[in-house]
Symmetry: C2
Subunit: 121 residues, 2 copies
């Protein structure tokens, strides 16, 4: 079991207010971040594909999410000088490493979601 104290280790300021890790956690575990990363874990995706696969996301949030994850070095954006324009997104090496942890977590949640009745609030 990995606990807060273990994660903090020698640096007690880890995960306190203003700590950078909190920011990254917010990016990665955000409402749309998880789903976009999950979709990209499957392979390279174009803008339109993501838009369709991540059901319910708006263009604004897709753009915002992709920019954040790209800036974090988890996603690579590759644009081709063609007409019509084509842009592809894929996970970076670091992104794939992240997904090796995030994937199983989401998988577990999906498997057990139906037993969790607390959908209020």
């Amino acid at each position: 079991m990995v606990s807060l104290a273990q994660i903090r280790g020698e640096d007690p300021s880890t995960l306190t207010a203003g700590c950078p890790s909190r920011t990254v956690i917010d990016h990665v575990m955000s409402k749309w971040g998880v789903l976009v990363l999950l979709s990209l874990a499957e392979g390279t995706r174009r803008w339109g594909e993501l838009r369709r696969e991540v059901e319910g996301i708006s263009e604004k949030m897709l753009g915002s999410t992709l920019r954040t994850l790209t800036a974090d070095g988890l996603v690579l954006r590759r644009s081709f000088p063609e007409v019509p324009p084509r842009v592809e997104y894929e996970l970076t090496e670091r992104g794939r490493e992240l997904m090796s942890h995030l994937g199983p977590l989401v998988h577990w949640i999906v498997d057990h979601a139906h037993e969790m009745v607390g959908t209020t609030d």
Copy 2:
């Protein structure tokens, strides 16, 4: 690598809009949910201890978060009929199972957060 298609498996509606798993994901991976769960992974905690350990959380959000996680069956609330009142929170068996996945993820993020420059947005 666990991808969206793999998670969806035989049920294509998994993780689409309105799917219960999205709700649970939002609870578990919420800004404060992660930190509260992480603190409880260390052991039983009282209200005041959580308030101090999860730095920056307001009483309102602590209460709301604990109620949600309790309703999801991840946290157990135990109150003692004493004066002054004492209430203890701890992970349920399901909660500990969840943390076996969530813990390593957060651990990895903390270890790599300093390399992720994109703190904008």
